[in-house]
Symmetry: C5
Subunit: 364 residues, 5 copies
């Protein structure tokens, strides 16, 4: 019930701004309130603050430091509009930030790169969150739908100066964000693998309660996973192209690594999709095999007992043996009853032999 | 019945002008009468009028304003021919306007762009309407099959000067029309999603009445949807190419956004098609599972009662126990009847244990 | 029977000239006798004649008029060879004309274009006829397998000077021929649509007599249709390329239109193929659903009557109630018989309630 | 049995030289002994001889004549090595000649073209033979696995000077060999068509003995056929490319023809593969339809006779009608027996009417 | 059980370094301890030694000899880091060496080529081992997960100076390693072929015990095989490109040969995948055919014995023939019993004839 209800919900509100002029900022009334956090770092120095007054933001961006403005919650339309104006974001890009049903993509604006990416998490069903990333000179601007992300280890590396991030520019930070997102797909795809393994076990051991339902859920989720993972891979791939000037050559090598991971994820998703499809066939096959078993039992029982019952029926007939000596003389034979039982045993034995010959006992 | 009849109708009249010279204007006798409405606007000024005398039309097109000539109803061949002559439309393009079974496409003529697009609406079945758009210098000319379209919000934005449309050229108007059409696909695709959700519910809960029929209808409609959505996407994509000189760079950015939407629509349509296909498998699987259940009930009943009935049959035989002491002595035992009933109970219990061991009670 | 025989025939004689030198003209002995008809026209003037003496042919080709030499029947090897020599046809092209199992294709020779095209007609099964078209300077040469084609309306247009054909060159004539052929595919594809509609009706209403046979026939024919329609589309597409110098720019616009039609045909064929495939699944699904119905009836009958029969059997046993009071005392009860009937009714009612609970009556 | 054994054999020895240095000539011990036949021809003159002493070979190649060295049997490693040295064959190419599991391919060496091709023959199962062709200046060198090929008609044409072969260079000879090989695919593909026609007949008429086995064999063989036909087509296609200098422009036109044939073969193979796949579905469908028939018979019989048997059982009960007037008074009615028979007839008639209403008699 | 457990395990730990900075070397705690073996050779001279002190390694690389440093076991993080520093390996490349779940790939660094390859071995299930290869000027560096590889024959050829390896540079050695890996795929693919042959036999002969399980295992393994074989082929293909300067022209010809083998492997894997898929259909088909057989037996038995039993039941009724002459007069006929038996025989014969007409005996 709950699941189906979710199913319905999923197909709703894919585009709420139909009929409005393109570039209109229409905030989802259910969106989370907006908070802005800034991390600013150079090789020698890190500051991290929560910004209350947006007006102070532009002053923060400097030539010598990398500024990461992390906006969480898309519920405050005014704040978003002011951020858009401050950082010269294109209205269409800002609309895409708010309308959280975009496919991952890279858009190249004269002085900025705009990337739409997507976090994927598998709890009972697949859940997704859109993360929009702007890369401009000296700053990275990220928009998240809600609290909780996969960037905590990265923030840690910035704070504690591990890895290259403190020693590189804003493009490396953007790469590191992408890498964190792509890497967060691996646990999800592994969870899919585990679910399919469990389903396969259940299918092969003949469980049938709810199997088809679970299989359909996994297939649906894999379809959705794939729908986001493919363009995610293409986005990373597009970033590597030579004509993207905001990315330095050194970061490009790291992007190649991130692209490898994205390829692997897509690859595994395809494999799992294949497995999901074949599991339905397996289920049908196992189910038809079980039917065979059931029918064999029925057929054996019926084949043995129907003739026996018939014989019993014959000798239960009430023909008057006094009327003529042709009428059921067996009834008065000395060994009439043993004879009848013997005939029955012979029949039963014959049929059992017939079944044994057909191999029905071997694979029941 | 009604639906099938529609099915037949759908495959009729796909091309009625076979044998005529190409470029012949052959009006469908069932087409709606033609009405011409004109909206003319600049940054400071809007007029909207219904044109009775076509001869006044060409005078309307001016250098300083954008003129949108909206032709509704393709029933008046003369009027269409005169419009064609006035706006220098190519005869083949005009033929495509009238012959409303075109796939969406972009054709580039020296001074004009000609786009065939298609509105899609899902009532009981998918219904479509061809909308042809000519973009020339300073004017946009649209041809619709009948009243009722998805452009009302756009007309509103022109009238009330919301968004960019009043401040841009005819190319932006053409984009806005395309965008309105593509956006109108979202409710349709969502409706498909809902139908598939409903069908999935029904399939999984084992309803069978008319399921296959409904599933086939959805698959057919999705096939048709896809048949129009794909070339629609390609049309938007082709418009973005550098060599289309009628489109300004600024509008091109907006087209990129429209293209994103078209890609998303196609994407969802593909997903839904996949789901539709797998639902048929699910249906087969559920159906075979139910057969198993039914057969288990039958087999259990038969397996239990056949041997019991056989025993009863044996003791219903009429062998003459007076003839010899071998003939059915059980009949005269003191506890013959309880003995027989006990044997029956033992058999029944044995079979029940056998079924329980086989797990037939667990997943019935 | 007849159909199968045709099936066998279809796969015969696909290439009869194996082992012969390439370019050898080997006439099929069953081919129709050759007739040559010439239509010659300019803007002001048309003549149409049947040529008896081939020697007069070359004189007919002139600079100011377009000459259409229409050869019907490929049975006269000598005549074909002489035609080949007169019009400087490449031996391989001429071989392809005679060997009527070519796929549609365009071949560019220095001074000529050679097109293989194919007429498709759907009577009981799909039937095809190869039409070869040579386009040279000022003339078009067509080879047809037999009388009867789709060019009559075109001949009419030439005779009565309707459309552009009389005012254009030989390239337009070649286009008009191609257009006539492609347009003749529409009735065929519509007929496929009707057949599939009928089949769907029959499948869904559970008819099974010969369904699979008819479905296979449609799928086979669609496969064949597609096998010719795809390369036909590619042929038209190849003709539009810039490097085909025999085609004028103006005709190229018309070819674009023809290409659109070809694309639509291929598109519909793909859709119908999809439907054909899913119909087989539907058939299986419907068939399994009907099996469920049948088995439910059987199971209900057996489940109700087996226990009843068993009870009747018990009270038909002949235990000697005189021998002890344990032996079937019910037989002598005052209400023994009503008691037995009541027990039977209780059982039957219980099972009916069980079936009703299981929902077996709802969707029978 | 034999077939399966062959199946096993097929997957053996795909590459026997694992671990050896690349370019090592490792002769299959089961290969046929080597024979070398030479045909040498110019426009005016042909000689044909069997070469015993390989040392005389190089002297044979001349500037004015075309020399075709045809090596049959790959069993004599020394002879092959000497041939390799004489004609400057690359060691890797020679290894490919001996290791007869190559896919068809074209390799371009500085002064030679090396083609691997494959003869296909359909006896009980598909059998293949690798034919390697070297084209050098003035000579063609072919290696065949065993006696018997499809080149006899070509040799005939050389001997009797039919066609262009005697008037063209070595490149035409190479083309003629390829053409002969590709043309030899047509009877094979036709045989596949016939087998599928037969199988379809058998499937539709409900034969089941060994059907699945035969179907699997055909599908396997088609898979193998396709595995060789595809790269064969690509090989011919690659030969046509402009950068292959060993091929003259004139021969290139002939190769285009050969390419057409290869395309047609691949096309038909794809179609047949499609048919093979759908035949399995048809088989399943027919099989499920037959099950329905069988079950209807069973259900009708059971539904009619179970209630009748029950009635008979009731009146076979031994309730003591002397004990009370409630105990089976029917037994003593005047028309008790006819009444019972009538009740039975009524039941039977009722069920027959029910079945007739359900349409079970229409499509049995 | 064990297998399933393995299944679960397989999907674990695909990427353990999530959250760590890219390029971090995180050694798997279960990895094998590291051993370093060096083979150094020129045309005239070979040395082979096991290196204990890594510091001596760099001195080994010389201009005149080829040095092959073979690192087995990835358990010693320090040693690997030192090796990375010595040979100037990029940190990302070194991370890929340790994280053994990479897809095969080629990465081009300024002075080095880095290849990830994969050994595949089929014991009970498919097992894989990642082998990383660095090709630098004068040296090849390989990293293996554990002892045991397919390079022993190559080492032999180096020691005994067979083949070209001693006479070529480091690029030839890298090629030889790749070639050995690709060639080691052939026995694996052959084993797949054998398994499928066995499975086909079992499926066709109707075995059902564990068939679906085994089929799923083979399909899974083939999926995995394919997942590594495809990029392996692409890696070899990428190495052949002109812009890979580390590869000499001569080696490139050998790589072409290796590429051919990789193509053949992928080809066979695709074929086997196809067969695996169709085997599931065959299984379903065979299973449904067997059900038909079983049901025919049941139906025949029931159809024959139910009417017979009914007749017996009728004459077992206790209607009082004394009460009237309408009550079961047959019981007192002279030939009542033979008459009843005759009626039974007639019924049985009639049904047998009916079944024979329906062809149920022909294909049982």
């Amino acid at each position: 019930m709950g699941k189906r209800a979710k199913g319905h919900h999923r197909s709703k509100k894919r585009r709420s701004s139909i009929g409005l002029p393109p570039g209109t900022l229409q905030v989802d009334p259910e969106a989370v309130a907006t908070r802005v956090r800034v991390i600013q770092y150079s090789e020698h120095h890190v500051t991290s603050l929560e910004v209350a007054d947006l007006a102070t933001l532009p002053g923060l961006v400097s030539d010598t430091e990398v500024t990461w403005v992390d906006v969480v919650g898309l519920g405050d339309g005014d704040a978003l509009a002011r951020l858009g104006a401050m950082f010269h974001l294109h209205p269409l890009a800002l609309e895409d930030v708010v309308n959280v049903h975009q496919r991952p993509k890279l858009e190249i604006y004269p002085h900025q790169l705009f990337m739409v990416t997507r976090l994927l998490a598998l709890s009972e069903r697949l859940e997704t969150e859109q993360i929009s990333i702007f890369l401009g000179p000296g700053f990275v601007l990220t928009f998240q739908e809600r609290e909780g992300d996969c960037f905590e280890p990265l923030r840690d590396r910035i704070r504690t100066d591990r890895g290259r991030v403190r020693h590189s520019g804003a493009d490396y930070l953007a790469y590191a964000l992408l890498d964190a997102i792509v890497d967060s797909y691996f646990p999800v795809i592994e969870a899919f693998g585990d679910r399919l393994d469990d389903l396969e076990d259940d299918v092969l051991h003949g469980a049938s309660e709810g199997i088809v339902e679970r299989l359909m859920d996994v297939r649906r989720d894999l379809l959705m996973f794939r729908r986001y993972a493919w363009p995610m891979r293409d986005t990373v791939s597009a970033l590597q192209r030579d004509d993207v000037q905001q990315i330095s050559d050194e970061t490009r090598i790291y992007l190649r690594d991130c692209h490898d991971h994205a390829v692997r994820v897509v690859d595994l998703a395809e494999n799992f999709r294949d497995l999901g499809t074949s599991l339905m066939e397996v289920h049908l096959s196992v189910s038809s095999q079980r039917l065979n078993e059931v029918m064999k039992v029925l057929t054996m029982i019926a084949t043995i007992f129907m003739p026996l019952g018939f014989i019993a029926g014959v000798y239960g007939m009430n023909f008057d043996s006094d009327a003529s000596r042709w009428n059921m003389p067996e009834l008065h034979w000395r060994f009439g009853y043993p004879f009848a039982l013997g005939m029955m045993a012979t029949f039963a034995g014959g049929f059992l032999y017939f079944f044994w010959r057909k191999g029905w006992f071997r694979d029941p």
